[in-house]
Structure formats: structure tokens, C-alpha cells
Symmetry: C2
Subunit: 221 residues, 2 copies
DNA sequence: GGTACAGCCTTACACCGTAAGGACCCCGAC
DNA sequence: GTCGGGGTCCTTACGGTGTAAGGCTGTACC
């Protein structure tokens, strides 16, 4: 068995998924094609179909692999702390794999890691005394907020806090005079001030949701 | 000028956008191609490029057209009522044009209707006494929640409440025995009960956010 | 009457996902 | 030892995609 054979034998679903995630991170999900993915693995496109049913299956696997990276809610710290940490972890992972959020709207068959994660979240809330109904409310509210935040963060026309200034200023310069006065005020008086980072908005909204859930839970018992 | 000429002369950017939105609604955004869009307008694909710079511009226009359908926050009703109504309208519009939320993550150049909408929201909050900083917090929190909810709603493997039962039951049946116990409990004891509709979760989370903002605003003044 | 241009067209290219089927190699059965 | 089966990878091919390049025609204005 030659080294190149060994390299070939090593190819499997997980390696394909990992390479796809790397490629998506480097060049963007929209330029991820079976041919390029094969190329990055030293293999023809059609060979990938031995490890993945089709491209949709590949994308499903990528999303599930992202969920697998998210910390499960910790035990023994109270539901609020556990949920807060989990939300921060989820947001960090989704931001790191920015392509994932755009995939979620077309993926309707959750993978094992996704199911395991959801199960752990629900279990944590139930253990924290939430009724089944309130658990459903809480689950929906928290995840909606986290996904939506990442989506909005991604849709911003800039990545780092440093880029914000120039991009925003270029945009403002193109507005007709007097247009969107409140937007302009918010941008100039706040967003363009040194040190502003949209990412910092995450925890404010998260605590809004968590505090609200805490009150709802107290009202329930 | 013959009638067919008149029909041709009528083709413009807005008509192209409208046809694209109809097509996306009928057949899904992933099957929307320039050729099919041209066909639906009785025109060759390349002719569309006189009304739209490229496909990205088309998608930008579609998203902006969706924002144009959302009610602007009403004046004279207090920020909380206005924001609540706006959120309900946004969710209704985004659910109606289900393809839009998937487009948002790849669109970084907001259109006029989008900017006008955001400006009105910011103006409403400022008029309600929010500081610039709290306005940024509120804006981020509310929109994150709404977008995220629609995204999650879309990712569910069923559309109507009626479909829920059969799809969920088919899924549960495939789980290994004893797997995901909390998920199974939530599904059987709550989601699969008659009358459950995931869409009803929207207002609970929305009020969580709005009530939290009200407290934050009170704390500020 | 000439000319510019708007609107639509045809042709062509490089890319995409994947169906169909063939070559090779390892592994277990005889 | 050899024979067959199956896993892995390959080549080829088809029908789709977005869009660059350029041609044709009719209308609008100098």
C-alpha cells in the first residue's frame, strides 16, 4: 500500500465534509462546487458521490457538523446560565462559519448533532422547571433571536469594526441630502463613533429574551 | 403601435421584479433562472439585462420590493404599539414571500424601501424617547427576533399545521428507541396536540422583546 | 434624412449537478 | 491460487446555469 493509496483510503464522509467547510469558509458557500471540492481533495467530482448522496446531502452534513461544534448546555449551573452560555457558543460558531446561516433556510432534515443539541436544550429548560408549553415558547424565542442576529450581522456590508467607518461613510455620502435623517443620525452619532462594534449588540438582546423568560417562568410557578 | 408592441413597451424593471417574485413564490427561489423568468415574460433571457444589471441586482430588487410591502410604523400610537404592529406586518410579509429570508444573508446593499423602513423604525423609537444607544440595541433585538423566527419557521419540515402531525410522526418513528427523550416529549405532548401551530409562538417572543425594551426605556429615563 | 439609442435578439463560453457505466484493486470463498 | 464481488475512483455526457459580445430593428430627435 503506497502512501498515495493511504491518502486515498483516508477519504470518507467526514473528510469530505471538513474539506467542504474549509472551502466554504475560504471562498464562500456560493462558489462551493462538487468539482472544486473534489479538486481540493485530489479527486474527481464524481468520486465524492461515494461519500455523499448528492450536494443537498453534503450541505445537510455541513450544517449538522456546525451544530456539533456548539457547546451543549452545561449541567448544574441553572437554566439561565446554561442557556446564556449556549447562546454565546452558538453565536460564536455560526459567526465563525458564516455560510451556515444561509444554508439553514433550505435544510429541512435535521442531522443527529442538531437533534442532540435541541434535545439537550429542551431537557435543560424542563429540568429548570419550565412547563412543556413554556419550553416551546422559550426554545422558539431564543433560537429565533440567535439565528436572526447572525443573519443580520452577516447582511451588514462590512466585517470588522474597522471596516465599518469607511463603508458606512461611503454609503452615507451617496444618500440624497436630507434623506433618511434618523438613520443618518444613528450612523454618525453612534455606529461611526470609535469603538462601536455591532457584535456587542448581541448580549443586550439575549438578556432581554432571557430576563423575559425568567419572569415568565416565575409567573408560571 | 400594435398591441404586442404595447405589451413589449410595458416591460420595465418593476414588471421584471414582479414576475420574478411570482415565479419565486410558485416554483421556489432556487429554480428561478434568467431564462425561465424571460420565458414567463415572453422574452429571451438576455433581454432582461436591459432592465436589471445582473441576477444579483434582480435579487436585490426583489428583497427591496418585499420591504416595500411592510407597513411603516404608525404615528401617534406610542412606540410599543407601532413596533408591535410593524413586527407583525414584517413577519406576515416575510412568511408570504418565504424565499426572501434566504436571500437576505447574501444581500449587503440595501435598497430604498429598506432604508426608508429602517429610517422610520429608528425615528419611531427616537420619538418614543429612546436614546441613540438604546435605539441601536432595540433595532438590533427586534429585527433579529423577527428574521430569526421566519427563518426557523421556514426550516420546519412542514408548512401548515395539518401537515405537522404526519411529518413529525414519521420523524419520531425513525428515531432509535429512547433517543432524544425531551424532544420526543415536547413533540408528542405539545406540538402534536390538535390545534398547535408553530406560527402562534411568534407573539410570545415578540412580547418578550418589547416588554424588555419597555423596561430598558423606563430605566433610562 | 441621418443618426443615435433603446429594446430585443442570437450565439457562445465556462461553469454547474449528476446519470451512466467502465477500470482497478482489495478481500473473502472456494 | 483464483475467482467473484464490492468498494473506490474514473471518464464521458447531458441539460441546465449566468452572462459577455455583438447584431437587428424601430422609434425619437436634430
Amino acid at each position: 500500500m503506497s502512501p498515495s493509496d493511504a491518502a486515498r483510503a483516508a477519504l470518507n464522509r467526514e473528510l469530505v465534509l471538513r474539506a467542504a467547510m474549509t472551502l466554504a469558509g475560504e471562498s464562500g458557500i456560493e462558489s462551493l462546487s462538487m468539482r472544486k471540492l473534489g479538486q481540493s481533495l485530489g479527486v474527481e467530482a464524481m468520486s465524492l458521490y461515494h461519500h455523499v448522496a448528492n450536494k443537498d446531502d453534503l450541505l445537510d452534513g455541513m450544517v449538522d457538523a456546525v451544530f456539533a461544534e456548539v457547546d451543549l448546555p452545561a449541567a448544574g449551573v441553572g437554566w439561565k446560565t446554561a442557556m446564556r452560555r449556549r447562546a454565546l457558543s452558538m453565536r460564536e460558531v455560526l459567526s465563525r462559519h458564516g455560510w451556515a446561516i444561509g444554508l439553514m433556510d433550505s435544510r429541512t432534515t435535521p442531522g443527529q448533532a442538531t437533534l442532540r443539541h435541541h434535545d439537550a436544550v429542551i431537557g435543560c429548560l424542563r429540568a429548570g422547571g419550565f412547563s412543556v408549553g413554556l419550553t416551546a415558547h422559550a426554545f422558539s424565542a431564543m433560537d429565533s433571536y440567535v439565528y436572526g442576529f447572525v443573519l443580520q450581522e452577516r447582511a451588514l456590508p462590512f466585517g470588522t469594526a474597522e471596516q465599518t467607518a469607511e463603508v458606512a461613510q461611503a454609503m452615507l455620502a451617496q444618500f440624497p441630502a436630507g434623506a433618511y435623517p434618523h438613520l443618518v443620525e444613528l450612523a454618525t452619532a453612534h455606529v461611526l463613533q470609535p469603538g462601536y462594534d455591532y457584535g456587542d449588540e448581541f448580549e443586550f438582546g439575549l438578556d432581554l429574551v432571557l430576563d423575559g423568560l425568567e419572569r415568565a417562568a416565575a409567573r408560571e410557578s
